[in-house]
């Protein structure tokens, strides 16, 4: 087989979108790149599912063997773009082993329809091939489907170290089976050629067969079968329609653990389509192969917290223990919210990693339309009790007007509901109201009392009044003069006062175990002979020993008192007009607790 022909797209006079702009179309990534790729690719596969059964998807990473590398270098990508700025391509293809990441779906429609963007269409035929391989940003016309081509596919190129993919598809055109294969690269814009031939190029390149008009078409039929087989791609027959996307030299984060990243990404984003209870026609059958090893992807029911989500999904589907989310004005049923809670189950090994996207304690509501593809999660308040978690599912109503409102609010990546995307009107209100209600529910589910103010509905219960009044018991004297009558509150003249003593620390002083207490003295300076007297006491049952118990001799005496520069070595200190912090040293008995009582003595 001869090497594939290359077409590098120059800027047209009418202007193309340059590849950089093309890549930017992806918009702000709400998720990391691998997640975006998986979401987009799987969403497309689910959309392309043929009626009857859900699609089968194979995700596979592998290192090409020697023969396959040779085919890739000498046949598929033998011809290279001219000009500069293609170093990434040779870096990936010409040095060392080549790794690929394949996303293959089966039981889908494949990339059918015409192969050329300029082919006339009758409006009946799907334009999947053109849209996927040639056009950018064309809205895909699946009735209430989840995906669009155009934006999402840029992520496929972004994941490739050389912005290059190879595609093999078994599809139909005008009812006839077709097999197609083609390479495509979306690099940076560059200049190439010399003299008057020098032109600006968009950075987009296709590898296929010369169409005789300066462009390339995909390889077809036997040639496509042969090249795909030579590259070791999954086998296809007319009975196994679908598409294989080969991402060349995928950039997997150095530290990332691809196997577990893939498991949790697929499950976290597509679990509603993978549950044991999911209907056959919606069900996604996923196979995962990492460098030759078949990896078992657990069912969501065996992958906490998705077990709870799966139960919540059941509830939302059947309105079972679910809450209707409604708009009052205009009056409309917006959808069902179902929340389930349970003991926090141990996580699957792939979700135990530090950077796992799976929450350690779920407190999330998954938002979806009836198509049951997750748009996003609303984060809520987790249970304060870490042993429990909750999971919710909201499915918007399938009433045309309502579902369209939510669908229209989605950005191209389908990863959000943005009411601002809608014109003012009922549709915008629906989305706004639902999001507000859902965020309230998420915040309050774990602690419904606290959030609604609790006491509002309380009847004649005296419990809270008793508790407020109870503040005056027990803790009373520990709160010091700040709240007492001794301060200057209300313009009352300052009175002499001494706060309750506080224990500060224990220390060894001259070989004696000594407790240090302090208290605050406020002085009205009316008594030049004012004294402070300190009496230590043994603590019994949490308080001062009663006189009846005083037969337990405690001959402890205060050994030092101080207020600023004033010092004393007994239990009394003349303070005169001074004020501030009084320090008091009490020697400790061997196995008893000690407090100290301070008095003001007027002279």
């Amino acid at each position: 087989m001869s090497a594939l022909d290359l077409y590098s797209e120059p800027f047209a006079k009418t202007g193309n979108i340059a590849a950089e702009g093309f890549r930017k179309l992806l918009g702000r990534p709400a998720m990391n790149l691998l997640q975006t790729v998986i979401r987009e690719a799987l969403q497309n596969s689910l959309d392309a599912a043929q009626n009857g059964d859900g699609p089968e998807v194979l995700l596979r990473t592998r290192v090409l063997n020697e023969d396959e590398v040779r085919v890739l270098r000498s046949q598929v990508f033998a011809r290279r773009p001219e000009g500069e700025r293609h170093a990434d391509l040779s870096e990936a293809l010409d040095n060392g082993p080549i790794r690929v990441f394949e996303i293959a779906d089966f039981g889908t429609t494949g990339l059918g329809g015409p192969t050329r963007a300029d082919a006339p269409t009758d409006g009946e035929e799907d334009l999947d091939f053109v849209n996927f391989m040639r056009n950018v940003g064309a809205a895909r016309d699946t009735h209430q489907g989840g995906g669009t081509y155009g934006y999402g596919k840029t992520s496929l190129y972004a994941l490739s170290g050389c912005s290059t993919i190879f595609v093999d598809t078994q599809a139909r055109e005008r009812g006839q089976s077709v097999r197609r294969a083609m390479g495509c690269r979306i690099g940076e814009a560059y200049d190439a050629g010399s003299g008057s031939e020098r032109r600006r190029h968009t950075g987009r390149h296709w590898w296929g067969r010369d169409d005789g008009e300066g462009g390339v078409d995909p390889l077809e039929a036997g040639e496509a079968v042969a090249i795909s087989a030579a590259l070791g791609l999954p086998e296809r027959t007319t009975a196994r329609e679908g598409t294989t996307i080969v991402i060349i030299a995928p950039i997997f984060d150095e530290q990332s653990d691809v196997r577990n990243d893939l498991i949790e990404t697929v499950l976290w984003n597509f679990w509603p389509r993978m549950c044991r209870s999911t209907a056959q026609e919606k069900r996604l059958a996923l196979r995962l192969e990492i460098d030759g090893e078949v990896v078992v992807v657990p069912d969501p029911e065996d992958f906490p917290p998705l077990d709870l989500f799966a139960r919540a999904l059941e509830g939302a589907r059947h309105g079972d223990e679910a809450k209707a989310i409604t708009s009052i004005r205009p009056r409309k049923h917006l959808g069902q919210l179902s929340i389930r809670r349970g003991a926090r189950a141990d996580r699957h090994v792939s979700a135990l990693r530090k950077r796992s996207v799976i929450p350690k304690q779920s407190a999330h509501i998954a938002l979806m339309r009836p198509v049951e593809l997750i748009v996003k999660y609303v984060h809520g308040e987790p249970f304060p009790d870490g042993r429990f978690e909750w999971a919710g599912v909201f499915i918007c109503s399938d009433e045309e007007e309502v579902e369209q409102a939510f669908a229209d609010s989605e950005p191209p990546a389908h990863d959000d509901w943005v009411p601002q995307n809608l014109p003012t009107g009922a549709a915008k209100s629906y989305v706004n109201i639902a999001l507000t209600r859902l965020s309230e529910e998420a915040k309050t589910y774990a602690n419904p009392l606290g959030a609604t103010g609790g006491g509002n509905e309380r009847g004649p219960s005296l419990a809270s009044t008793a508790s407020i009044m109870g503040k005056l018991l027990e803790k009373a004297s520990a709160t010091g003069p700040g709240r007492g009558g001794g301060g200057s509150r209300g313009g009352v003249k300052k009175l002499k006062s001494l706060s309750a003593p506080r224990f500060v620390r224990l220390e060894m002083a001259d070989g004696v175990r000594t407790a240090i207490f302090e208290a605050d003295l406020v002085n009205d300076k009316s008594d030049p002979k004012l004294r402070i007297v300190a009496e230590p006491y043994i603590v019994i049952d949490g308080g001062m020993a009663a006189a009846a118990d005083a037969s337990v001799a405690f001959d402890g005496q205060v050994t030092r008192m101080a207020l600023g520069v004033l010092q004393g070595t007994s239990g009394a200190l003349e303070v005169g007009f001074n004020e501030g912090t009084v320090i008091c040293h009490v020697p400790m008995p061997e196995s008893a607790a000690v407090g100290v009582k301070l008095f003001l003595k007027e002279g």
Binding site: V539, D541, S551, V552, A553, S591
Partner: protein, 254 residues
Amino acid sequence: MSRVDLLPRLKTIGVSHLLQDSNGAPPEPERVLEIIGENSPFVWFAASGGTAGNDLPSEFARGLRDIASRCGYPGENSQKARADFDREAAIWLGSHPSLQSGELLRDDVWAFLTTALLPKIVEWRYPERNHERYAGGVRNTFQRLWMRGVTLDLGEGHADRWVLVRELSEDAMVQIFERAAISSDARLSRAIARSWVDIAGLIGRGRMEDVMRRATIFIRVRNQVIDLAHLDDDDLAAEIAHAFNASIGSETGN
């Protein structure tokens, strides 16, 4: 676990009414009915959580009246008769299966049982008619006996199940049961009671009042800084014995 028998609760102010209106004497049954009859603002039940309207109050009254009668009530009122009553009533209360629930920790329940049902027995047991013998609390005529019974019970399997209830003097009981820091911990209470019996056997009951009073103070002081409940049985017994020895030591030192 069977349902809790809910018991009537008599408010503090109801106790005062019953006693005031009868000028200090125990109220006559007709008076009691008049004041705390139906729809009385002074008597209430828990709103839920068990069975109200059970036979327990009447069984309680009958049981204690029988014991009192055996001990000489109403005619004989010697110190021995009262001591016999305290002992037998404590054992009966401590072993009654329906008297183990949280209801019995409530003062207002005891206030009802005492003031409304058995005021005559209170007068017989405490002729001085102190208010605290009627109102709920650690000095309530029957509540104090119940506390002794449930706390000092050595268990059905024990060869001499009620030895502590029988042996301890009134003063020793008061030292234990009027101090919540001790009586709230049943194991600690029993350990002290056992020690009391041992020491009384050695030095004679006559000296025990002072020795016990000081020993319980030592124990409470110690319990403030170390958690006696955390010690195993042997260490706890040693700790208690140490307190008694220290108490005896300071007695001879005086």
